[in-house]
């Protein structure tokens, strides 16, 4: 005769398993990682080879900051079910957090071997190849996404970013244009445009797009890029304000500190004031708006 606890172990109750999983999910959703892990312990005792429980445990551990244990949980889930898309995506994200980028890329390859239409896997693989500086490989991944989903704004932006790294600025600009056409609020595409214009010394355009991006999301890097563009336009007060904002968001930004010093020095010599003209520095001969512009002479001075 079996002892009562052994009976439970060998004849697990489906109801108990489901209620433990349900309780774990609820605990995870309300941020109670300890509670979630406790419930998952119950579930995995009842059914040790339950891939969904291992995957959830991996996510809980990731949230709790235990990356190695999370990685182990995702690997356990894949031992239970090797064709689990969620398991492979979880494993890849755990590897990413651990900085094991090559293995992360391999995880996406394993996933794509049985699910070649996974948009998430192609996008994330492209991102990790970008981080590994394999820009051509990243572009191939984004092209796979765009073949499946031509309206995928983020894929267009990422492709543009990789092209920018390869020095193909015209193609990159086209990709950012496409991304912004499909998603006019795509901040990343706006930020990439800022960097593209800044490298071409189109400071007026850079300020314009930095302002648009900052209206949606603040980032110290964007404020810094905006400050640099203002410096290029000899708008030292606006440049100072931008660098100060960048430093308020990230006090460790050394470049911003140096640039702030330069802006302060410039202010003693020159400080343009653009007034209501947000397009300052983008003068276009023959444009009706530019013809009426009150600060046209100064705009011409700083327009490349």
């Amino acid at each position: 005769m079996l002892a009562p606890d052994a009976t439970e172990r060998f004849l697990p109750s489906v109801d108990r398993l489901e209620s433990a999983m349900h309780a774990a999910r609820r605990a995870f959703e309300r941020g109670d990682t300890d509670g979630a892990l406790g419930q998952l312990g119950v579930a995995l005792k009842l059914k040790p080879e339950y891939d969904a429980a291992w995957i959830l445990k991996g996510h809980v551990l990731q949230k709790a900051g235990d990356r190695e244990a999370a990685l182990d949980a995702f690997m356990q889930s894949l031992k239970c079910s090797g064709d689990s898309k969620e398991g492979w995506m979880g494993l890849a994200s755990a590897l990413h957090e651990l900085g094991r980028l090559k293995e992360e890329a391999e995880a996406y390859d394993r996933l794509l071997a049985f699910d070649p239409l996974s948009i998430e896997a192609w996008i994330d693989k492209g991102a990790v190849l970008h981080e590994l500086k394999d820009y051509s490989g990243a572009i191939r991944c984004y092209e796979e996404v765009l073949a499946l989903r031509p309206e995928h704004g983020a894929a267009w932006n990422n492709k543009g970013a990789a092209l920018l790294r390869l020095g193909q600025e015209a193609e990159a600009a086209g990709c950012f244009e496409e991304a912004l056409h499909l998603d006019p609020d795509c901040v990343d595409a706006m930020a990439n445009r800022v960097y593209l214009y800044e490298t071409k010394a189109y400071h007026g355009e850079a300020v314009l797009w930095a302002d648009r991006a900052l209206r949606i999301r603040e980032a110290p890097g964007l404020w810094y890029a905006k400050g640099l563009a203002h410096l290029g336009l000899l708008e030292s007060t606006l440049a100072m304000r931008s660098f100060e904002r960048a430093l308020a968001l990230d006090p460790t930004l050394k470049e911003a500190k140096a640039a702030l010093r330069r802006a302060t020095a410039l202010r003693r010599k020159s400080d343009f004031y653009r007034g209501a003209y947000e397009c300052f520095g983008t003068h276009l001969a023959g444009d009706p708006g530019c013809e009426e512009c009150e600060i046209r002479p100064r705009c011409r001075e700083v327009t490349p």
């Binding site: 276009l284 708006g289 512009c293």
Partner: protein, 316 residues
């Protein structure tokens, strides 16, 4: 001025663009491309539909249906306002689902006081579920005071009357509903059946009206019509109805049983036995078996066992 379309902005010339800026309260200064982008941004934000997000009331209603009445109650309570009866109705439904019927009745009452008359029917349902048929009927009557012909309310009232034992009154309510809703012929059959159950076959017959050709949805009523005729001694008419019902649906065992009873009354025991045998094959019913036992010819009495003749003792 109404917001221009994106196409209008895209193709507007410079003076038009300036006018658009003025009317929309936007900065009209700058390079034309930048001004156009400014107006387009404004238009895009104005015409972009707000993405739908489930409100607390939506979530509460879903939680009731998903089987979480306690959570639903909490959510409904958080949505209650002084000028809206709907949250009270939702709260009442959650309370019904949670088994708190008297609380639910109070919630529905609050909604009704705030002007939602349909809450009276919800209240009637909650009271009926708790077995308080008198107050459930009263709630239906309150609702019917404004909407005398409302089919749902009449049906509920009839149901509560029948459940509380007032079968004839229930039948009269159904008959009134049938008069108010000629588009629903099944109501007359229901009323007739109710009268029959209440022991008033002659009134039932009036309710059924003229015999109809039985089609599938009406067959139940037709069979009951036949029973009413049978009870009133109009056996041949009853037989006609049962036969039509069987033609329409040969598997209706109650029609076969009733036909057999009628045939028995007409002195046709063989036909009755055949029909009862068919009915007994279709369904295992004690009533049919009893009827069959009555009709089946009694088996011949067994010959009594003869006493064996006394053996003579063999002579030694």
């Amino acid at each position: 001025m109404s917001v221009p379309s994106a196409a209008e902005v895209e193709h507007a010339d410079w003076p038009t663009l300036q006018r658009m800026c003025e009317s929309l309260g936007l900065n009209p200064k700058g390079r034309s491309g930048v001004v156009r982008m400014r107006v387009l941004d404004h238009v895009r934000r104005r015409i972009r539909p707000e993405s739908w997000r489930a409100g607390r009331d939506h979530m509460a209603a879903l939680l009731t249906r998903l089987g979480y009445p306690n959570l639903s109650e909490d959510l409904w309570e958080s949505t209650i306002r002084l000028d809206a009866p709907a949250p009270w109705v939702g709260l009442g439904q959650a309370q019904v689902a949670g088994g708190f019927l008297s609380e639910a009745a109070k919630s529905f009452d609050r909604a009704a006081q705030m002007g939602d008359r349909s809450a009276l029917l919800h209240r009637a349902e909650a009271l009926g579920a708790g077995g308080d048929y008198d107050r459930a009927i009263a709630a239906c009557e309150s609702y019917l005071a404004d909407r005398p012909g409302n089919l749902r309310a009449l049906g509920m009232k009839a149901d509560f009357l029948a459940r509380s034992g007032f079968k004839e009154e229930a039948a009269r309510v159904l008959l009134a509903a049938a008069d108010a809703h000629p588009e629903a012929p099944f109501l007359r059959s229901s009323a007739g059946t109710s009268f029959l159950k209440a022991g008033r076959p002659e009134v039932a017959l009036e309710a059924f009206g003229l015999p109809k050709l039985a089609d599938a949805p009406e067959i139940e009523g037709a069979i009951n019509h036949g029973v009413a005729l049978l009870v009133l001694g109009r056996t041949r008419e009853a037989v006609d109805i049962f036969q039509k019902a069987i033609e329409a649906d040969p598997d209706r065992v109650e029609a076969l049983n009733n036909l057999a009873v009628a045939q028995l009354q007409l002195g046709q025991p063989e036909l009755a036995a055949a029909n009862l045998a068919r009915a007994a094959k279709g369904v295992d019913s004690a009533r049919i078996r009893l009827n069959l036992a009555k009709v089946a010819p009694n088996p011949a009495p067994r010959p009594r066992a003869k006493k064996p003749a006394a053996r003579k003792k063999p002579k030694p």
